[in-house]
Symmetry: D2
């Protein structure tokens, strides 16, 4: 579990961006005793005011410089389009503020790297809002994998499909796959990592970018991870299957009464050494058909836990669980996936080991 040690004095924070995601940050910073929300900043101040509502004492501004100049602001949270992350976050870092950035960390790996290096240089917290990593379900999956409850991971199959908002600037991979990739990055044990990715996709509706896409990742262990993201599905599905050598975990995020199910069912293959000559042809495979356990999960809003982790990282100076480097690793896969998509599905090697 995450341990949070609240500050004596709350951290002054400003939210930048009052669009789709900003209001959620506003609400969670307001309800956290670790933070004091000072500003909501948006180029459209009326939108910002609407988000705050007619009863709020929080200040609004269209001027980022004004916000960054406020010494009561210790930290910022950026929920603007990905293309603006570099300038906004860089300005904040240079103003000496801790920075939380909505996923993806930046528009490119190169831009993200600039942010990571700037934060390192200044000793500031740089955190990526990989919200799903802070759901009780994903935190539990991480613990289960770390404790070896599933054994070796053989395959991961993740499906995230819905009738989605077709984005103007990015395709469905950049819109939705950061969730799955950040979860993968978060739950995998340190010794396991993706080494290559291939992507296939289709536009379908003539939107000018992929609206349906499939990512296949090779892991260094020989395991496979596969991600289906889709803006065009009238049915909403958010499931992931973590197939392990000992047990298999199914995460159905739309089933609140049973989000996680751990199946003690599977296929075992005897190693040839254990078998006599006769058997070798016939008894290779056996099946387990055990119980299914659905562990009880607390129902805590992920964003609230994420906000507390931001406070912890700022206070202790230790990297956040989803720090800038995790954002970089996700960006590297996204870029490789885009290249694969452009090349008709070529498997692209990742260099991720180099900088982590």
């Amino acid at each position: 579990m995450l341990v949070t040690s609240p500050l004596p004095a709350p951290i002054g924070v400003a939210v930048v961006g009052a669009g789709y995601w900003g209001p959620n940050l506003v609400r969670n910073f307001q309800s956290s005793p670790n933070f004091r929300l000072r500003w909501l900043c948006d180029l459209d101040v009326e939108r910002a005011q609407r988000v705050l509502g007619g009863y709020s004492t929080v200040q609004v501004s269209a001027d980022l410089d004004e916000v960054l100049a406020d010494p009561s602001v210790d930290a910022v949270a950026i929920a603007t389009p990905a293309g603006t992350h570099l300038p906004v976050a860089m300005a904040a870092l240079r103003a000496g503020k801790h920075v939380l950035v909505e996923k993806p960390l930046a528009a490119t790996h190169e831009e993200g790297l600039q942010l990571v290096e700037e934060a390192d240089k200044r000793g500031l917290t740089l955190m990526c809002d990989h919200t799903y990593c802070y759901t009780p379900a994903v935190l539990r999956i991480r613990d289960l994998l770390a404790a070896g409850e599933l054994g070796e991971l053989h395959f991961l199959d993740s499906v995230r499909i819905n009738l989605g908002l077709v984005q103007r600037d990015i395709d469905v991979i950049w819109d939705l796959a950061p969730h799955d990739l950040s979860i993968l990055d978060f739950v995998l044990p340190p010794s396991v990592r993706p080494v290559a990715v291939a992507a296939h996709g289709a536009d379908g509706i003539g939107a000018g970018r992929a609206c349906v896409a499939y990512l296949t990742l090779q892991l260094n262990t020989g395991a496979i991870a596969h991600i289906h993201v889709n803006w065009l599905s009238p049915v909403k599905v958010r499931t992931a299957i973590f197939g392990g050598s000992k047990r298999t975990l199914v995460w159905d995020d739309l089933n609140p009464s049973q989000r996680l199910s751990i199946y003690d069912r599977g296929v075992d293959v005897a190693s040839p050494e254990e078998l006599g000559d006769e058997q070798r042809r016939d008894i290779l495979v056996s099946y387990r058909s055990g119980d299914v356990v659905s562990p009880a999960l607390t129902e805590r809003e992920a964003l609230r836990t994420m906000v507390d982790e931001y406070a912890r990282a700022i206070t202790t100076g230790a990297p956040a669980l989803t720090d800038g480097r995790s954002g970089l690793r996700v960006l590297e896969i996204l870029q490789a996936a885009s290249r694969s998509l452009a090349e008709g599905g070529t498997m692209i090697k990742l260099n991720e080991g180099h900088m982590a």
Copy 2:
């Protein structure tokens, strides 16, 4: 709907193979007035006798020649391992019998082609038991696509996963994907066809062959079809989403009370010509959020309908809905998928147009 005109006299039939699938054929031939089951043939006559039970008048034999020499046998149905399809079916054709073969048609495209040519030469029916094509759901999907109810097909996403019997000789693609590929072949309008396929997979359990696999097919229209087959999933899923320009159909084969759902929900993109300059940036996309309709389906066993279609083809001399050529088209994709899998996911072009 299928129209069946029963023969005056029932067709004498012999089932070859009393393993996993044979008993289903035995049961359905026995309950069809169009057929008279004469023999159940299996190398293991005790197994054949067990399938028939202790109360049957049907003859058993371990000797295919004996069965084929019986003039009361007009037709055979072969449910033996794929590797034996060529010799068994060829012997039957050469004995002048009509032939029904369990999927896949043969172990290779080349072998399948020999069977098609032999049947053509002799004017005999050669049919492939693509059972799923005869489910009320798939027959309805075919009708809906033909009638344009879904509009243009944009994507197909098919998932067929379960804790499966790991096969000794074939991988999960050859075991399960014939279902999805034969359905695809069956429901697509004549002008739409796959032109390339890529496959990724993983072994996972050390079975020596892919136990988890993903197929991506490019269609000649630019649409995408994707198939997930998996022997290692403790949860059973059999769904397919047919995303169309007008409506999207979801087939959930494990939901008997609502197998098909037609969603009048989707994303529409205005064509640029319809838009003024101002709009071009902003109003490209609109969303439909209409009703969902689940059409009533009859609950008829697919094998029963398949058996009737076999009778119809034999009687009329017209090709069966799933004739040898459809089996060949499936084989071609399977072979290309195997090649792609071996090459790490390369997209392999199909030559399917050449011979159909």
Copy 3:
């Protein structure tokens, strides 16, 4: 659909009670342009302040008189325990304020009647917060029944079970059944009404009051309505089946993608006059097996619609859709159910016709 005509000036409103339900009222009044939230009143001002959070300009008070004395307060919304509804609402009415009361309207039918009469005398709006009536699903059910889409109602089966908060002062019937009873009152055509009720229940855990209960209502048409309420179920179920002579509607409130399903399936019985003597024994019953339609629903928060309806009633002077009289009708059934429960399940006649 509800038509709302917003006031030129927003209605000043005070929320009384900052416990379980009050925060929801606070949030919805704040986001409605029809209202201006002036006060949150609770005996525990710290609790009230916590509900408002650290950024609010809304005033708090522990003193109801202070709130009622504020001339900028036109209306109050009461979310205190049922036992206090009479004095709090009566004080508000006597201060000339419109009143919205959380369900149930009062602790007894007699107390509720006093409130209805006081509001009538003073020409003030008295409304009961039967929240579920304002869900898109229930509004649609009401429309469907009114339009005759289901035909005559034959039976209603409602299940509302969950691991619930065992209440200190009331049993599960008074806690949960007001939802079902208010929905029933809301959707039934004017000519159809309950005429008797029986209740069975069990304590189970030694809580000193029924934690599991079943209500059976006879309607004046011969139809039956049955309600299962349960605090002890680890699974959450919220379904209602409206069985009609033409179609049957199933409401599954926990299935956001398909809350309503209208089944064109059912049993038809031919009237004896239509049948010859021979047939009378044999062909009485026929079955329809038509499509299922799930109408698209807007996803609007019920409380928001309820708040708008409160504004409409205040502004126009017309009774709210869930006015005090509907609250009274629900109270009468609750009291009769309690009497039946005490008497071991006797069917208790309702006098509801007398005063509505």
Copy 4:
């Protein structure tokens, strides 16, 4: 688990009745090595022949006497309408045959009693085909209750609804509730038993008998059992919740991958003695929110297990798990329910203790 000791020689058996249920008995007797099916007897021999199909060596007859006169027939299985159970079963017993009767045991408790006494007198097996009791799920529920895994049973809520065949002679209670009542009888520990029943119902469609009904049973422990049976529901539901003091079990018979779920979730009430004065008002209730476990079940056809139990009872002379007395206990409740229904829902006491 059931222990079966197959006979050296199979038991000769005749099935009487080739209607809805008879074919299932035919199939299961044929596949059991414990039995040799000698006859299928039906007034309509063509129907009987159709059930056997065109390949069977089993004899058919319209003449019960002929069948009973066959010395190779040791046992009969009766699947005729309930009104005929007495004469058919009595004739079989008097001919010295063991008897299995489809539920309900007879048309009335009085008739059932005659059969029980006749079988006792002759030392013959009389068994009632309460099929559901032999499902892996119910067998497991029985074990769990016996082992105290659920603690004390607080409530049972059973729902068995579907678009059903409206019967000509019996109402929905007599058609469907025998399933639930026999299960209740089967799984309850010996010290727990129903002591009273009330029934409410409605006709709805003018069928002349209840098509929707609710049974409420009081158990001698203060627990409640409630059964909803319904012929008019377009959705099929077969669930039962067994609420216990320690755990709660949910049986969803239509969810093959998770039929049973055991919830370690619930409400605990501290006994007053454990509490101080202060606490007594406030800390009465606590909540458990533990894991859910779905035990692995074998997938064995219930009828096959029932048939084996029939063989065991015949061979050993010990009463079958669902012997004639269990059939009598179910009949007593059915009759009391009918009386309650006729009297508008009066709670009717059961005398069941007297004869069991």
